[in-house]
Subunit: 164 residues, 12 copies
């Protein structure tokens, strides 16, 4: 099964290219799982604020699917073969399935907050790793974190309690 | 973990509602896996016809994602909780991961042809099962098969050999 | 006052055409009343979730108005004269005026849930009646029920309670 | 049943607010009935000029529905609960159901001309009543009459006879 | 000359596929002829209501051309080779050329009414034939008949006489 | 008062430029008058086919206004000063004011037919005059005649009588 | 020659209708002349700021043409026949042709400023005249003056000198 | 520092022009502050209904910014120099800074309700002041109050309590 | 059967008008057949480059259908009755049905190349014939040939062999 | 008054989050003041190049308002409460009100050039401060400086003198 | 290196095709250089009218790039290989590089005027050469000259001096 | 000839500004040449995959032209005069003209791959050079490399061979 090409991007070195692609594959699984979870919550949330949350999640899904594509095509550009397969995802991931089905807005948002924390922390770690070798990949990840943190703020703004 | 509501759609009966929802969950996994595979091929196909196939798959992904949403919201409408989670998908599915990574247009299209055959056959079987009880679900599935068979024809037209 | 034409659609028989048109007139009144009620709730709902519900109802109104038009033009196509008049509607309908004015989101959604149940049950009954004679009318009604059930799910998702 | 709020618009006085809202409720019924009649004619008109008239009425319906919304939200803004219900409409209105079903373009336009005359005369009377107390409502009604008179001119231009 | 593929749609059986494709070829010729006739009338109609009828026929042509494409791609999807050729059409059709050139609105609409009756009756017969074997094709034809009957109603509304 | 520049278009010669610009000024007056007449008819036409004719004239006005602009900017490009003034127009024109006010569709279309004949004949004469010297202006006029003749056909199709 | 109908708008009185229509005819000539002048300047302005002024005038022309249409259809709505003819315009107007052809930005804007002053002053006088009788026409003119004054400000901002 | 021009709008009188412009400057500060406050709330609101309120405020900001522009250009049209500067605003305003930062939906909406009351009351007072002198400015303010009152109703509908 | 009007375009002469219309009828058949053939190939092409060619043909069909309309309306404008009927087409044409059904990209493109050569050669011959009599028709045909030659270049670029 | 949340973005540390948010508040005031100044100039600029500069500033205002939103939502995302209040702005800023009202293009552009220099210098200083701790905020500021420097170039290009 | 195909357009003759293609190559270089120069001026113009000229040149660049494409595809359609390479351009052109960098609006427009004169004169010469052989190419060039002369008028209108 | 301004961007220092502008001029030539080459290939590619590659190159050209503009305006923003002239480009570049004319898809893509490698390597070198001095320019170049590498991946995916 062919998984790497003879090339990587000009001026980087084939070894660096393969290493960064490998690290990005982990991010690809995380983002792919995140888009599935966002849809899952979109369908299963219930209660008084249903419609607002139901609709708030769709543009997030849309943008995260864009991130998935961006990371996968970056892996391919670096010369490796990205995996977008569910079996690979479940076998390789370092986290569990999302725990809720039908549940209230509050419970779902509290869980989603944790999911976002996980994805963002791992993205930030990778940013600091690849910055010296490949500023292009670094910039791509920074742009994604900016969006993911904004989405997380949306979610946190719902669950935040104000002490009187 | 809450997975069913107290209601189903008017005029159907709660038992029927739950049974059909259960059958649709299998279709939801199949369609969710299909959208992941279509993107995977989009990234990994290579060779002289790269650009045509790469671009042909994006509207297919877009429409299949619409099918995913439609089936999941039908399950919820019938009173059950749809699962869009990757762990559930891999545990419950009756098929394997897609076998190729970087490969030629020909090889990928031959594999995709098989994937489509699987999804369509199962959809057709469910159509004949639910028609008497719930014409709404039947109509939804017929519409999806119409689109899926058209997409399969696109793929078959690439690989068909003409005997002179 | 002229209420029927000399024709009905090709291949159906004038008697069948008139009978189906008569049954559809009842659905036309139901849908016309539904669009008026949806606007009425849009204006009279108050309380913490006001804006979400206020805005959720407008696309529902828009689509139900499309159903009104579709049913009325089907009646005309079948050779009869559809009635869209309020006096006819109130004289012929088998239900009462919607009971609430200014009220909370919860109370309005609970009432709307009942209204949708009524409309959907009657639509489903007509589907089973016309299927053998006129598959075109059957298909039209199935498409409307699919949308109406989805809207009802939106409303039910707001009022559903999750047992912890 | 709650029909008024504790407030009216700033600077108007609660009594004035309620009185104007009451007068506007009559206009709301008239406009709501007008939109139903316009659709009814859209479906029932026949004869050589069918398509032109059939299509001319749809933008009129669209705009009158906008007027309905505008008047109802003004009533709510003034602190009262607007009624958009068909039962209320038929019980409170000072006019009869539209008299025609399937009829020629000429007959329908002659009847519609009378309907418009009724709605416009009552709007004009209300303009002169509310002008001193509430110029906002006055301006809103003036804008609607401008549109309604233009639509009536369209209809009159069809039926006008030119003396040689 | 190659006219069939090795496949048909999954779950149908190659024999069924070929038979349905054969029946659809007759519909393809009928719809292809209909789009040519609609344009022909668009150019040749004269008299007082010229512009309304001239413009009413263009969206009908547009939609019928969509039906042509839909039926042809269904034939291909079923594994056969659709014929869109004028020579085949004229040799195989069971009807004559449209009889009028420059003529009044009334005469053209009376002829078009007959053309629509022919196409719709044959479509309805095929619906009842293919329903058990292939619900996808059935659904496709039902959708087309719904549109064709609506167009015929437009035409009939022009020529209908109201007895006073 | 400055009416000519020091330049004309490259390769034409200043004398030719001024002469063609002078001939185009006559066309500018004709087209400017035509756009005013088209609006005038748009407002004054009455009778059974009112709405179709009322609406048919607006795109004609729009296109003729484009012709006005095109001819005027061509005059300027050739180095002369175009006149768009009503006083100049009335003083210099070789035709009378349009004769009708409120009148039937038939009478207005018969008059408009004559107006178009006048404008087109003069345009065609100018085409044959400027063709040798300035193919750019010739092409501009041909394009306008093509559109004007099509508009005239629309008008003629309304008034044409078919001998049985 | 027919110039008035048997009707005016409901609730106004035929005499008032004719009188206001007569006063509006003067405004129609003024606005029609203004749109011609704006185009004339658009073509004849030269100098360093050519492009800015050339482009600034087009949306003004567009809006003034809208005013022309609005006033003419108001005249027709009131029951009279509007005149949009150049011969009438020149015979009836109380002002001269615009004085410049090719000229600098400064000179043209100074002249246009005067033209606007004339049109606005006459509009304002008519507003105070018709306010008591016909608030609809009053509101229409108020809306136009609002736009015309804004356009005049654009022009004045170009020619204004700042005293140090 | 130059703050007035030599002109005001035609037919008004320079003294009146300056006085009205002065009164409008107060409204300009109020609207400019309102747009800043709306954005401030947009960022600082928290709690279960976050997303609905967060999104409801953006079109309000957009429209109020349009009002700011409209009032400022009216001041300029009247011949004065509008001030859009924050230092001027804070020095001249007759109200305090908005009192909340991060706070619940309920608390923010209660405060915004007061802000709207203030702006609308002052607008209404100015309407009655300028009506006799300058109907154009009166009309402009009426249009703004219409929108502001509708926005306030949105906010009040959230906080209104229904007495059982 | 009426096939000619009493008029032709101004300044041309009725005899010339009829002759040119007759020559254009041959072009109308050719273009009508071409649009049918382009769709036919769109459905029947197979092989590795399927999707690119399948999609390339749709904008060609769209544009050729525009040519059909343009030629037919030119014939009507010249005073004759255009024929868009399949029976006429097949009886009058000087060429055979397109020879292929399901075939490879290469074979279809080679055949289409010949079809285009035929249509273009005949168009070019007609250009040289009508140029002296009717420059409007000449210009119309030149514009069509420009587009047809570009489409043929697309096709030739696929089949061209480069000698190394 | 609540001004901070319990959280900051994942992987940054609450202290860092608060410190960066504090530094961004200064930038928020600067950008908020800049958008007010740009509108102020938009209204007060006069002289020969009025329209070009008047229109050039609107897209700049639009983009700077986007920067305001972006910075404020970043502060909130970092867990602090952004202030968008005019009173706070004026109390905390380190610069004076913009000095001009009605003035020439040249004078306004010279002042705006200085305003931009101030904002950009402070942005650049913050970029170098936050780069190590928070690359997301760094990237956000770099993007804003890129746009602000381009806008400043537009302004400088107007005032630059070319030595011959 | 392959530079010609075995074909030219139908009905022209291979020798003619090659000769015209050769003459068009010179025009391709001229247009390609023109688009580069227009962008160059777009960046380097300075002074009081900067923004108007800066923005006026972008639609000119856009249209000239369209001309480049049109000429190059015409060369290919005629069977030759167009050169769009900068080295070829500079080696083959009969003119020098544009002489200015940063310069005032006046100086740049004076230079651009000369560039346009050169391109237009050569285009006009080629029109007269190819007219007899290939009316399609002639028509293409006429269309381009029409646009180029209009652009030149824009430029000339800026620099023209009016003698008092 | 003026090539530098008195300013550079705030906070950078005039010397640094000039140096970076000089380095960017080399990138400007490379990108300008690349857009010319992409169009050249767009016209000259032939063979079975013609249409896919022909169309794939247009969005690449569009985006590279955007890069050209962005780099040139950055040079101007930094205070220098960008050169977009073909003569300068050819004199200063460190590479040869693109070697192919009419050639197969494979040959062209193999050459384009080399061209992209050259442009990307030089861009990456400049990124590492300017990062410390000017992060704005660094960010601009990173964004361009991200796009250029993606385009190169498109091209490489066509020519890559998969070992079985």
């Amino acid at each position: 099964m062919t998984k790497t090409a003879d090339y990587t991007v000009p001026g980087l070195g084939k070894e660096n290219g393969e290493e960064i692609a490998g690290l990005l594959q982990d991010r690809l699984h995380a983002l792919n799982d995140l888009q599935l979870v966002l849809k899952h919550v979109h369908w299963n949330v219930v209660g008084p604020n249903f419609i607002g949350v139901h609709e708030m999640l769709d543009p997030q899904t849309e943008e995260v699917r864009g991130h998935v594509d961006e990371v996968a095509e970056r892996i391919a550009t670096l010369g490796s073969a990205p995996s977008g397969l569910s079996g690979n995802l479940v076998a390789d991931r370092r986290w569990q399935d999302y725990p809720l089905f039908k549940a209230s807005v509050e419970d779902h948002l509290a869980e989603l907050d944790k999911v976002y924390t996980g994805v963002i922390e791992d993205h930030r770690q990778l940013i600091s790793k690849v910055g010296d070798t490949d500023p292009i990949t670094e910039d791509l990840l920074i742009g994604q974190v900016k969006a993911l943190e904004l989405f997380q703020w949306f979610i946190r703004s719902h669950v935040e309690k104000i002490s009187a």
